[in-house]
């Protein structure tokens, strides 16, 4: 079992569902984003999904897009610095894990092999690249195998059944299940889908070779509770960023605690 899957399995012995909180690196500044991550880790977040900003984040909705553009507006962000910064954070909070999320281009420019090697050195065990489909990732997968880092694949409610079975069986670390169509930040949680979220997760569970994380549209405690027993990790992104934008760390923390520590 991969290090990441093992971590999730161990922690799940104590908790019905783990938390993954998303933070955009460099938003509004590098230091503030690192402080916000530390605050979440202090509050018991099991994972931080750190998004390295890209100018053209096509899978993200307005909240995260604006944060990425904000982060890139007045400062030069480098992948190298990001890896060092979040690596340090991981060492400061050894009870939690950090996953790196970005789009392919900044990672490609940095060098995929170097990226995976550096992730391993900084104990960043999961890598989420939403615009790199499995089929195009032969190179990345081989680097990941070599260095013990898990590429995280996404599945969605419209992923064809045979493909879903395949991706679930190929999952390492955890499988990222998108709860509905669209980009990040839409509040319509699994609304209007042909299949209920429960059926969708049951289908995934029957094939999955790794723990299951569910994201896209999680905003309320009821959403998190509904995942207990069906998934291992609840991922909150846009809702947390909305709260942070509204009232800073305090408001963000209130949401996090309401979802996971109530």
């Amino acid at each position: 079992m991969s290090q990441l899957a093992q971590y999730i399995a161990d922690k799940r012995q104590q908790k019905p569902i783990l938390s993954m909180t998303h933070v955009v690196y460099g938003y509004p500044t590098v230091q503030e984003s690192l402080d916000w991550m530390a605050t979440l880790l202090e509050a018991g977040a099991d994972f931080i999904e750190v998004q390295f900003p890209f100018s053209d984040p096509v899978a993200d909705g307005p909240t995260i897009v604006a944060a990425c553009h904000g982060a890139l507006h007045d400062q030069q962000l480098t992948v190298e610095q990001c890896l060092s910064d979040i690596g340090q954070l991981g060492r400061d909070y050894p009870q939690s894990r950090i996953a790196l999320m970005s789009y392919l281009n900044p990672m490609y420019r940095y060098g995929l092999e170097k990226l995976v090697k550096r992730c391993a050195e900084e104990n960043i065990q999961g890598l989420i690249l939403p615009d790199l489909p499995y089929e195009q990732a032969t190179e990345l997968r081989s680097y990941c195998d070599t260095h013990g880092v898990d590429p995280v694949w996404l599945v969605t409610p419209v992923t064809p059944k045979d493909r879903l079975a395949f991706l679930a069986s190929e999952a390492r670390g955890f499988l990222y299940c998108v709860a509905r169509s669209g980009v990040t930040g839409n509040s319509n949680h699994n609304g209007g889908e042909r299949q209920s979220l429960d059926e969708y997760l049951a289908e995934i569970n029957s094939h999955a070779n790794a723990p299951i994380g569910v994201g896209f549209g999680i905003r309320e405690k009821a959403h998190v509770d509904a995942l207990k027993g069906k998934a291992d990790v609840a991922i909150i992104g846009s809702a947390l960023l909305d709260a942070y934008n509204k009232g800073g760390k305090e408001e963000g923390l209130k949401l996090f605690n309401g979802l996971f520590n109530a």
Partner: protein, 420 residues
């Protein structure tokens, strides 16, 4: 040009969010079936001919030829298409495919608004719901096109993200498609994006080069020696060039937008002078204008249709192979070329197409008199009236606008009083 599983050399591919996988596969299969279905091809040709006015002429330019004293200059008249640009060839093809797939809605991105207008036109004709994403800055710069799109029944969404230009419109169209893929088709306007879009758009545009083959044989008994096209996304260049790919004696020149200068942000030159670098974004791999950290950068051109950060993977590959020679024309050279065509031949070219003219005019005097060049006049220039007036420092134009505004306001206040 047939791709190798979506790739052209090291460019192309399909780098899209998982949510779009099924829709992308559907287009892939629908396109494969359609192009092998004689009924589809017959309907396509009929619509090209009877709706868009194809075949477009190949026009010999005697005055220009005499002016330069070198190569004999011909224009492929894509400006005479319905909508005034080659964009129509592609939207007709894709819209017919949309009907075939049973979808009811199309989404498109647009820069100058030419592709937006073309999409709105065909959508009105075929009864498709139509949403156009356009950078908020472009909405302001190109309002006449926005006006027509709205009159045609399209919803125009100004994109306020990022630099508020074509790149942002494309991102936003992809986001819409991520939520609406089950009933909507992303009708991309150029030979970019994930597979099979580059191949499909190039297929529909290749009617340009196919016609030039026939017309050149008919008019002068052989193929042209050189072809010129402007390169923004690359669709008109693919359309003219690809049918000649195997004709080794036919040279091809692509002309990019040099804008105001070669500093990053001042131009849209991706394929020469080492200014672009390989990247993977917006669904495909190609040469992008980007910084060392892989962030895509701002671009500039006097021609909004060339103001794009990436370029067709097909053109990127052929340029890398040396099959296409790449050059660029600066904003001021473009306005000069536009002006020369107006005066010598009585044809009003789009500023995009004027890049191809500028590139060709530089070479023409030095080419042998018996050689023949074909320049793709991809669009007509009516839409550029405001920009050209400004670039030519025409002093009467502001006066016209002021009078127009005064009259317009009077008209509005008369209407209001009538209602009161």
């Amino acid at each position: 040009m047939q791709s190798n599983n979506g790739y052209y050399g090291e460019f192309g591919g399909s780098y899209i969010p998982e949510i779009l996988y099924a829709s992308q596969q559907q287009i892939l299969h629908a396109f494969e079936e359609a192009k092998n279905d004689p009924e589809f091809i017959a309907e396509l040709k009929d619509t090209w001919q009877n709706y868009s006015g194809r075949p477009t002429p190949l026009t010999f330019c005697k005055n220009l030829t005499d002016h330069f004293g070198g190569a004999q200059i011909y224009l492929k008249r894509e400006d005479l298409n319905q909508s005034g640009a080659h964009k129509m060839n592609n939207v007709i093809g894709q819209a017919l495919l949309v009907k075939r797939m049973g979808k009811k809605r199309v989404i498109a991105e647009t820069g100058a608004g030419q592709h937006g207008v073309a999409t709105a036109l065909i959508s009105a004709r075929l009864g498709l719901e139509c949403t156009i994403y356009m950078g908020a800055k472009d909405v302001k710069r190109q309002y006449p096109n926005v006006f027509w799109m709205k009159q045609l029944g399209a919803t125009v969404v100004p994109v306020e993200e990022g630099a508020q230009t074509l790149r942002d419109a494309l991102d936003e169209a992809l986001r819409d498609w991520s939520s609406s893929h089950e009933d909507s088709h992303y009708l991309i306007g150029t030979t970019c994006g994930c597979a099979p879009f580059p191949e499909m758009v190039a297929y529909f545009q290749s009617v340009i080069g196919e016609e030039v083959k026939e017309q050149s044989q008919a008019q002068f008994g052989q193929y042209p020696d050189r072809l010129y096209a402007c390169v923004g996304g690359g669709s008109n260049a693919c359309g003219l060039f690809l049918p000649f790919l195997e004709e080794k004696n036919v040279e091809m020149v692509g002309v990019e937008a040099g804008g105001k200068g070669l500093e990053l942000g001042q131009h849209s030159i991706r394929l020469s002078n080492g200014l672009g670098q390989k990247g993977i974004a917006q669904g495909f791999a190609t040469m992008f204008l980007q910084d060392d950290n892989g962030q895509l950068q701002e671009t500039h051109s006097i021609a909004a249709g060339l103001d794009y950060v990436g370029v067709s993977p097909i053109i990127a590959h052929l340029a890398q192979e040396g099959r296409i020679q790449m050059t660029y024309a600066m904003d001021d050279e473009v306005v000069e070329a536009c002006s020369l065509l107006l005066k010598k031949e009585g044809i009003i070219p789009a500023l995009e197409s004027s890049h191809a003219l500028a590139g060709a005019f530089k070479d023409a005097p030095n080419l042998p008199k018996e050689s023949r060049i074909v320049i793709n006049l991809s669009g007509r220039g009516d839409k550029d009236i405001f920009n050209v007036a400004k670039a030519m420092n025409d002093l009467t134009f502001p006066e016209f606008l002021e009078n127009y505004m005064a009259d317009y306001n009077e008209h509005l206040s008369d209407n209001n009083q009538g209602e009161a």
